[in-house]
Symmetry: C2
Subunit: 326 residues, 2 copies
């Protein structure tokens, strides 16, 4: 079995490969070649913690995988990661367990790749200003996903704690991002300037005012992954001409802002335009420059699998990772 | 993370520890400290294969685990194992993934330990002849489980292919078993001689004639783990004074001989005496020398977890295994 650390995966596998492999995975799902059974969640209410077991299987690649993610929010108190993930790959030609890899970067990367693909299919081709609301754990790869598919000239960022946005800017510059980056103190400035808005927060209340949204804006929302969370307001949901989601079942169960709007009776899940995978056949799904489009992502096991297979292929080709007998 | 191979586990962890740790796990279940969610099965019908994902969590030990087992019967054609298992342990104090271990020997050992505990609680204390029907993959540790709890003088064995029984005898002798071992060509000889009968076959039809069963016999059945399988006949089921199972939910869904008897209307699941864990409070549950007792095992994730925790503790104490960064 090959063991792959986060560091090794980061060195050899980036957003370009992630988007390529995720598109292949979405295509396999369209062709009925993916099994994506319900995930199992074990909860630890005293610690507000949970462990998620997310299996899936890909007939096309003849691989099965299970991602195990533990989410322990109180870890911040002791300087540990709140989210710790590993993914086990099994060859379904013979049942052999072939690889165990770190799944933390992988999860962030697949979420960024989903937003990248959605941005390619939905945003205006001439989008040049990327707005970033929330500069926490998931935000970095969200930016990379958008930069991969659109010629962005300017990034304008807001975070509740300004200092964290400044550090995030430094991180992007160190990574080699050459775009002009501005940190602002008022979230309205982001909304008024942006062609594309990335939201990645754990907010329980809307983080921007939908009334300010410009025509033609595309939004990627990856927060609100629990029914109690609500990153985007009802105004934005009702104003959106097209709402596309990564996984309709997951969104119905988890995406707080949609559950809230549906429960209020102002909106219905039937208004969702499609799942992201259904957009793959056509280069662009935008009908006119004025459309407001909204991509909502909550995650599903087969997205992780799609990237994990790509990482495993690279590891075999380029011979990185540690081989152990288990 | 510590990586433990089958070889290392076999070197440091045996039936004595397995029975001790499994009894602790059964006790935790009795105390309501175990989460044992439904397992997820992905099937590969073209290969008659499947992958099982079996999670569980132990509040007592503050550990969660998931066993991933692939069952690929056609592997025998290419000289590979039909069953390949690994188990991932997560520390539920902080969500850290601490150990990945081979789960093949572990699974055989926990099945043997279940039969050992059942034999201790149900068989006659003066049982001296162990009968073995089926000398395949699971049979070895079944023998060790019984030897751990009863003073066996003689082992009498039958297998459909006699040659395999001869090889099995050699394996027991090499392991250091000192009991007198006889291989016979007629299964009736086993049934007529044995105080305790171990069945471990994949048979679709009963492997012995229940009419021949002596009073006072105890039976351990670990085959018939699919509804289509039927290792023990209806006569035996109806003749048993006490039927004890490892996991009632699993038995209702999987144990072929019981499902068959219940569907025929000759027997009902309500006739089951108890789950094995309910026998722990008392040294022995046999009421008289004439009782026929039958222990049926199909397996559950938390049994594997109980042993895996013990193995992990030993690995930390005795410092074996490989430490890797994942």
């Amino acid at each position: 079995m090959i063991i792959l650390s986060e560091h090794e995966i980061m060195k050899h596998y980036s957003m370009t490969e992630a988007i390529r492999d995720l598109e292949a995975g979405l295509t396999s799902m369209n062709e009925g070649k993916i099994d994506n059974p319900h995930r199992t969640v074990i909860e630890y209410p005293e610690q507000y913690a949970s462990i998620l077991y997310m299996p899936s299987s890909d007939q096309q690649e003849r691989m099965a995988g299970i991602k195990t993610v533990s989410i322990f929010p109180e870890n911040t108190k002791v300087g540990k990661s709140t989210t710790q993930g590993v993914l086990l790959l099994t060859d379904t030609r013979n049942g052999e367990h072939v690889c165990l890899m770190n799944a933390s970067y992988l999860t962030r990367l697949r979420t960024g790749a989903l937003s990248g693909i959605a941005t390619k299919k939905l945003s205006r081709k001439d989008s040049s200003v990327l707005g970033v609301i929330g500069t926490g754990g998931m935000a970095f790869e969200q930016v990379l996903g958008v930069l991969e598919v659109r010629d962005i000239e300017k990034i304008i960022m807001f975070n509740r704690t300004r200092e964290k946005a400044d550090r995030f800017k430094e991180k992007l510059l160190r990574f080699g991002v050459t775009q002009n980056i501005t940190v602002v103190d008022n979230v309205d400035e982001v909304v008024l300037a942006a062609d594309i808005i990335n939201c990645a927060t754990r907010s329980l209340t809307p983080v921007f005012d939908g009334k300010l949204l410009k025509k033609g804006t595309h939004i990627n929302g990856v927060g609100s992954y629990l029914p109690s969370m609500r990153e985007v307001d009802e105004e934005t949901i009702l104003k959106s001409d097209k709402i596309v989601v990564d996984d309709i079942k997951g969104v119905k169960e988890e995406a707080g802002e949609f559950i809230h709007a549906a429960n209020n009776g102002h909106w219905s899940f039937a208004a969702i335009y499609s799942e992201l995978r259904e957009l793959l056949g056509k280069a662009c799904h935008r009908e006119g420059d004025d459309e407001i489009t909204f991509f909502k992502s909550v995650g599903a096991a087969y997205f992780d699998m799609a990237l994990a297979q790509g990482v495993y292929r690279e590891a075999k080709e380029k011979q990185f990772g540690i081989t152990v007998t288990v």
